[in-house]
């Protein structure tokens, strides 16, 4: 019977298409996430204006405030891409710097949302107050959880880099986390427009 030795050296992972397994998997996953967020956004859009009682979006939203946090998230995509560039140049100090910056911008975004939501709550909008509360908090909540997972991944990458636990080609895991992070950003691009900027009810409200 064959005596198979489990060798030390990792496979070159020559793939049939030449595409790395993980990158293909990540794009398939992001593709499926389109359907996930699509369903949540559809629920929100469907129920726009359907609440039987207030508060309503126009009573609650502070567009100026949310614009700022949208800029923050956009900026985090920039810093993410800079982190990847640094990783590709094997400039690990800058890579860690940009990764941490991205994480902190993400935390600012989430923190801003927490503050925003507590303000809404004080103004009378909770998860179960009305349909607007239900659909708004669940949609943005799911997004926020995704951002948080992203922050964890960014900080983990940074930690692993400091502990020298990243593979020889660290640009690859950074690229993968980057794809996830940018996706979370583009979902917010849609949410910001569809939820915040499109008025509910007749024009003017």
């Amino acid at each position: 019977m064959a005596d198979v030795s489990i060798a030390k050296v990792r496979d070159e992972h020559e793939t049939t298409t030449g595409l790395p397994h993980t990158k293909l998997a990540m794009w398939l996953f992001l593709s499926s996430e389109c359907l996930l967020f699509g369903a949540l956004i559809t629920t929100y859009v469907l129920y726009r204006g359907a609440s039987t009682k207030g508060p309503f979006p126009s009573d609650i939203f502070d567009i100026g405030y949310t614009s700022v946090s949208s800029f923050v998230l956009l900026a985090s995509s920039l810093t993410m891409v800079l982190a990847l560039g640094a990783a590709q140049r094997r400039d690990f100090m800058r890579m860690r710097l940009w990764l941490v910056t991205t994480a902190m911008l993400g935390m600012t975004f989430v923190g801003g949302q927490v503050y925003e939501f507590t303000a809404f709550y004080r103004e009378g909008l909770a998860l179960t107050t009305n349909l607007f509360g239900t659909t708004f908090f669940v949609l943005t909540g799911f997004h926020g959880v995704h951002v948080t997972v992203g922050i964890l991944m960014l900080l983990s990458l940074t930690g692993m880099s400091f502990a020298d636990r990243l593979p020889d080609d660290p640009a690859f895991p950074v690229e993968m986390v980057g794809l996830y992070w940018h996706f979370v950003d583009i979902v917010w691009i849609i949410i910001f427009t569809v939820v915040y900027l499109i008025p509910t009810g007749p024009v003017g409200k």
């Binding site: 990792r10 397994h21 996930l36 799911f142």
Partner: protein, 624 residues
């Protein structure tokens, strides 16, 4: 097989598991073959349980005004029967066969992400156990497998909360598995194995994985919305607050319809492998079979509202979906004609595997015909919510998918276990099951058209439904008997362990038969180079001038003596066993229980999952 151990990891406290054999190795395995076996054994146990639930239903309905089950119990039993058969039997059985066979059929040594593969299995098992624990924790789900709101959102017992959480758990498992197998098929094919040299079973597998990837997120959202409505008082499906239960139906069926193609495409793949082998002819119209599979997958996303014809969407929507539903019959018909053409003038061998495939195609055609009648909207108004529909989906799901699974079992049993199932008992199994199945579900067409309504725990004698219900129950017990025959077959042949005379007992066509039966842990000593469709067949046979089969030079096929592997010519890197997949999986049902009982458990479960994921990320896939 020699037990292979390695030096343990240094100084990290807990040693990385290294055993590839032995009882505990099953908990840490990342080998696709073992994982396939785990899926298969677990799914079979759930099949027995789901079958017992069916017998309870049929016993209750054997006569009018029976009291074996009261109305509440009946609701739980039929709900769990449906959930079990769909999510805990057919889907994991397909996973079992895909996991075991796809790497072998494409000439790979494992799947793309072996630890995720293990994680998917454990999460499936835990999800199934979680769902079943509901029986002991306040009652099983009772709102039907389709969980229509507002019944599902307002039911005061906890069953539907278990439903939402249980399906979320198994859904995560299936999504991960689908991405895994999808990447495997795309990215790990042997040299020369282009897409159009893939065995049709693998093609159907690819379409199935893509259907899963795109449909599961939709039901994920639906289930979360249901969970939130039940657990935290949101208003997604609450009409008093402006919500609309029809939204549940859309989200559910947007998943639910692709789901039925997820359930049947693997069986179509099996038929496409078995029929050619036992006709000694290539699959007729391979490209048509492949393209029609893709078409079914694609169009399958466009017919969902045919489950909602009576929901009040209006004539425009109903017409559109009636048309798309009629259209989807076309690619299915293409397959059926190709299978028939494969049989035509073939050198037919009626083994048990072949009989289940032929029977499966025939039963699916019957189910498909009733399906076509559902596509006619006004006719569906009469049929919907009656036993006519129950007849339809059992003909396609039992007659199609389950027969396909048994065909696969008889066909690939020698490959997996190294011995054949008894053909005599197999044929007995087939005939008992075939007759029993038709006795059970055939009369339901009549019952439905006579007005027998679904999901009702009893019926009065005055409706004249008794006779066919009795026949149906008789049939159900025949099915049970047939499964007993199968079980006896499996156990007996396992104890006898009559060795195979050859690794290729069926004289088959595809790569998995090139290696030993069962395969060595590394699948192939040398990864074969593929030059054509049915590569293995062409290595064995050429055609002479008159088109007759002529064996190729002995030794060229090179499949060796049964049970022997010659040994690879170079070191093979296999992924190493790991604790982390099962640990990471364990955290999720813990969180699910926590959602119902206590936030502490949610935190604990999250911590366990996080630890599992970090341990996993920090561990190399191949141990140093």
């Amino acid at each position: 097989m020699a037990s292979i151990s390695m030096a343990a990891d240094e100084g990290r406290g807990i040693r990385r598991p290294s055993a590839l054999t032995g009882f505990w190795s099953w908990f840490t395995t990342v080998d696709h073959k073992k994982i396939g076996l785990l899926y298969g054994m677990t799914a079979f146990v759930f099949f027995i349980i789901g079958g017992l639930e069916a017998l309870l239903i049929r016993s209750q309905l054997a006569g009018p005004d029976q009291t074996i089950l009261n109305a509440d119990q009946y609701n739980e039993v039929f709900t769990m029967h449906g959930l079990t058969m769909i999510f805990l039997v057919v889907m994991p059985m397909s996973a079992a066969f895909f996991n075991y066979l796809i790497p072998l059929m494409i000439g790979a040594r494992d799947v793309a992400f072996p630890r995720i593969n293990a994680f998917s299995y454990w999460l499936f098992l835990f999800g199934g156990l979680f769902l079943y624990s509901s029986w002991f924790l306040g009652g099983a789900p009772n709102g039907g497998w389709f969980g229509y709101a507002p019944n599902s959102t307002t039911d005061p017992t906890s069953g539907m909360t278990f439903y939402a959480l249980g399906l979320l758990l198994t859904g995560i498992a299936s999504t991960a598995g689908a991405i895994n197998l999808g990447v495997t098929i795309i990215n790990m094919r042997a040299p020369g194995m282009s897409f159009f040299r893939l065995p049709p079973f693998v093609w159907m597998g690819l379409v199935t994985q893509l259907l899963l990837v795109f449909s599961l997120p939709i039901i994920t959202v639906a289930l979360f919305e249901l969970l939130f409505d039940r657990r935290w008082g949101t208003h997604f499906f609450d009409p008093t607050q402006g919500g609309d239960p029809i939204l549940w139906q859309h989200l559910f069926w947007l998943f639910g319809h692709p789901e039925v193609y997820i359930l049947i495409l693997p069986a179509f793949g099996v038929f496409s492998e078995v029929l050619p082998v036992f006709s000694r002819k290539p699959l007729f119209g391979y490209q048509f079979v492949v393209f029609s599979g893709i078409a079914i997958g694609f169009i399958g996303f466009g017919v969902w509202a045919h489950h909602m014809f009576a929901a009040g969407l209006g004539p425009v929507a109903n017409t559109a979906f009636g048309i798309s539903t009629a259209i989807i019959a076309i690619p299915t018909g293409v397959k059926i004609f190709n299978w028939m053409a494969t049989l035509y003038r073939g050198d037919l061998r009626f083994t048990a595997a072949m009989m289940f495939s032929i029977g499966g195609v025939a039963m699916f055609v019957i189910g498909g015909l009733s399906g076509v009648t559902h596509a006619v909207v006004p006719a569906d108004y009469q049929q919907t919510d009656t036993y006519y529909i129950v007849a339809h989906f059992h003909y396609v799901l039992f007659g199609g998918a389950i027969f396909g699974i048994f065909s696969a079992a008889y066909y690939w049993w020698p490959k997996v276990f190294g011995h054949l199932l008894s053909e005599g008992l197999g044929k007995l199994h087939f005939w008992l099951m075939f007759v029993g199945f038709n006795l059970t579900f055939g009369p339901m067409h009549i019952l439905g058209l006579q007005g027998m309504i679904r999901r009702e725990y009893t019926y009065p004698a005055s409706l004249g439904l008794t006779f066919w219900n009795q026949i149906s129950t008789l049939g159900a017990f025949m099915i049970a008997l047939s499964i007993l025959v199968f079980t006896v077959n499996a156990v007996r042949t396992q104890m006898q362990k009559r060795p195979l005379e050859t690794n290729d007992p069926w004289d088959a066509r595809t790569l998995e038969w090139m290696t030993s039966s069962p395969p060595p842990v590394h699948n192939f000593d040398e990864i074969p180079v593929v030059h054509s469709l049915d590569e293995f067949w062409h290595r064995k046979y050429a055609q002479d001038k008159s088109g007759r089969l002529v064996p190729v030079q002995a030794g060229a096929a090179d499949h060796g003596e049964p049970g022997e592997a010659r040994g690879p010519s170079h070191a093979i890197h296999l992924p190493s066993p790991s604790y982390w997949p099962i640990i990471a999986a364990l955290g999720l049902p813990t969180m699910a229980y926590g959602v119902i009982y206590s936030w502490w458990m949610v935190g604990l479960g999250a911590a366990v999952t996080l630890i599992g994921v970090y341990g996993w990320a920090l561990e190399p896939s191949v141990a140093e």
